[in-house]
């Protein structure tokens, strides 16, 4: 294992920002992969999965099981992680909105540029992502249609769902899109609840990463098969909104199979305690996502259900 300094950035008053990468194996022996962990300060589960993977790969390297080249960068925005911020603490910009970066630009553009430079030339690229809202979801693969996406490597993760959809304009400044453009088979795994660690979810993502690396010839290990992934296009997802605001409690968990008519959650008035709403499944399917805060806004998305039929 080599511990690399991806970047070292001086601060006016605090200790320098150091972004570190952990490198395993050699490129000459097999394919290569880079895995990027927490780009935001609230992506704790992503940090946890990445650092656990570093420890795992260190052992596998000692056992001689690594064939290709593997780079893991567990955390990019350590400044934010260290102070409970989400974005870059000074100007609140999101590093994952600065790609491909600009070496002569603003601070987070420079950070993105250095990081992106270190991610060049890899065959596969994985971004461990948190959600951008208050939700909590089943771990899923997010792959956007840039024209350079590779569904086959996404399938080798063996995760239950692959969300495959057109990109939105803001995604053109994100890592996945740019990494694909620079010819790395890049995808994101979205999981967890921001600011928290979930062990079951973490294991599932860890296993998926190891499975992909095994199937694509970077690790020499016996491995369980995963799911035969369902590719979900946006039209197969039913969005259930809370028509009222208040205290929200869910009676089901992500991953549950639900039938049409099942009660999924309840909303009560935060002051009077009056029961305001029951959220009922309008369709059968798998509950992929739920609102993860106890206070819910009117019209917030309470649940998402993935179905086979529309």
């Amino acid at each position: 294992m080599k511990r690399l300094e991806i970047l070292n950035f001086k601060s006016p008053n605090r200790a320098p920002l150091k972004v570190e990468g952990f490198l395993f194996g050699e490129e000459s022996k097999g394919p290569s992969i880079a895995i990027v962990g927490a780009m935001s300060g609230d992506h704790i589960n992503q940090l946890y999965v990445a650092s656990r993977l570093v420890d795992y790969l260190r052992q596998k390297e000692e056992e001689g099981k690594i064939i290709g080249k593997i780079l893991v960068i567990p955390a990019v925005n350590t400044y934010a992680l260290n102070m409970g911020e989400t974005f870059w603490p000074l100007d609140k910009t999101d590093i994952n909105m600065m790609f491909p970066g600009y070496a002569q630009g603003e601070t987070t553009q420079r950070i993105a540029a250095k990081l992106f430079q270190s991610l060049q030339g890899f065959d596969y690229g994985i971004i461990l992502e948190g959600r951008r809202d208050q939700g909590m979801c089943l771990p899923y693969v997010k792959i956007i249609k840039s024209g350079y996406e590779d569904i086959e490597s996404a399938r080798d993760l063996g995760m239950r769902f692959i969300h495959y959809r057109p990109y939105s304009p803001i995604e053109t400044v994100m890592l996945q899109y740019n990494w694909q453009l620079w010819e790395t088979k890049a995808l994101s795994i979205v999981f967890g609840k921001n600011g928290a660690i979930n062990n079951t979810t973490s294991s599932e993502v860890h296993e998926a990463l190891v499975r992909l690396m095994t199937k694509r010839g970077m690790l020499d290990l016996p491995m369980f098969e995963g799911y035969s992934s369902n590719i979900i296009q946006p039209e197969y997802i039913t969005v259930l909104k809370a028509s009222r605001a208040g205290i929200f409690d869910s009676v089901v968990s992500c991953g549950a199979t639900v039938e049409k008519g099942d009660i999924l959650g309840r909303i009560t008035d935060a002051l009077s305690g009056e029961k305001l709403e029951k959220i009922v499944a309008p369709i059968g399917g798998v509950l992929t996502c739920q609102y993860a805060s106890p206070l819910i806004f009117q019209n917030s998305i309470a649940f998402r259900i993935a179905s086979v039929e529309k």
């Binding site: 950035f9 001086k10 601060s11 006016p12 008053n13 989400t86 974005f87 000074l90 100007d91 609140k92 909105m97 002569q104 630009g105 603003e106 601070t107 987070t108 553009q109 420079r110 951008r132 809202d133 208050q134 939105s168 304009p169 803001i170 053109t172 400044v173 969005v239 909104k241 009222r244 605001a245 208040g246 205290i247 935060a270 002051l271 206070l295 819910i296 806004f297 009117q298 019209n299 917030s300 998305i301």
Partner: protein, 312 residues
């Protein structure tokens, strides 16, 4: 007097609503579908536009007989942010101006964006007033994406601003309010002036004159057009960006944005711990310094100024 209307409302969890309000002024006589929207507070830490909204409202209250069409004033789009000094939408940390056109089927910020669009679409013109953020001070300027240059520059020239900046559009700007509105056929101008969390009275009055002039020329007000300044046009030169080369404390050498000569010192970056001067920020071209850093802490890369040089 204008009529205050609520155009969007969402219940918040504990006994309150998030709402967007407008003050609508209509002609005393006769219906008109001709409409203009004056918008501010998409970013919760930008307050210069609120003052312009006040000044305009004050003028319209005093001159009701001059109103020829519908004039809508929306001073506070991100109302939660404005009352909590938060640039983004609180709770979600999402920049509202990166989520347009929004959607009814997405989280709160996207629903707000969707609500804003449905309230304002159908307007002939919209003027979206921003300050800079807390980091930078800007002279009054209008920023226009190159693709909209033809329709928008003639309008911007009526606004009594100092500078029209036609920029190459970046994909990410497709998620702004202005882009969404322009796409829907409302000629939308984005004004940037002043600095975040502060209020510059002079700039407010300057833009008020511009808005009155534009409304006179475009048939919203029955008044004579005002004698306004003609802005510098960005296509006749180039914009130079000044980024800090060192982390430290930026101490400007000039008070405000102004004309500057090539080679002169814009400011110094100093180290409060050692007492050393780390770097001098030198103007690489002469011209108008239309952006100047207002917040002193800088990292490597922090923007400290922008100069527009007429000669290139």
């Amino acid at each position: 007097m204008g009529v205050i209307e609520e155009v969007f409302s969402i219940d918040l969890p504990v006994g309150e609503q998030f709402r967007i309000q407008r003050c609508r002024y209509t002609p005393k006589e006769g219906e008109t579908s001709k409409r203009i929207s004056i918008v501010s507070g998409i970013h919760g830490d930008e307050l210069e536009g609120q003052y312009v909204c006040f000044l305009l409202g004050e003028w319209l209250r005093a001159n009701p007989d001059k109103i020829k069409a519908t004039i809508d004033i929306y001073p506070a789009i991100n109302s939660l942010g404005l009352d909590s000094i938060t640039r983004s939408v609180p709770f979600y940390d999402v920049d509202l101006n990166r989520i347009f056109p929004g959607s009814k089927n997405d989280f709160l910020p996207a629903q707000i964006a969707d609500g804003v669009i449905s309230a304002m679409s159908g307007s002939e013109i919209a003027i979206d007033i921003h300050s800079s953020n807390v980091f930078l001070r800007e002279i009054p300027q209008v920023r226009i994406a190159k693709s909209q240059e033809k329709t928008l520059v003639p309008l911007a020239n009526k606004l009594n601003i100092d500078f029209v900046w036609v920029h190459d559009a970046v994909t990410v700007l497709e998620s702004t309010f202005a882009h969404a509105m322009n796409t829907l056929g409302t000629k939308t101008l984005v004004v940037e002036m002043g600095v975040g969390m502060r209020l510059g009275k002079a700039y407010g009055h300057q833009l008020l004159d511009g808005i009155l002039n534009l409304m006179a020329e475009e048939g919203f007000l029955a008044i004579e057009p005002l004698n306004v300044r003609f802005p510098i046009q960005s296509h006749v030169g180039e914009v130079a960006y000044l980024n800090a080369s060192q982390p430290g404390l930026f101490v400007p050498s000039i008070e405000h944005c102004q004309m500057i000569e090539k080679g002169s010192v814009v400011g110094t970056i100093v180290d409060p711990l050692s007492g050393a001067t780390l770097d001098e920020v030198i103007a690489p071209i002469g011209g108008i310094l239309f952006t100047l850093r207002a917040y002193p802490i800088v990292y490597e890369g922090s923007l400290v100024g922008r100069i527009f040089g007429e000669n290139g």
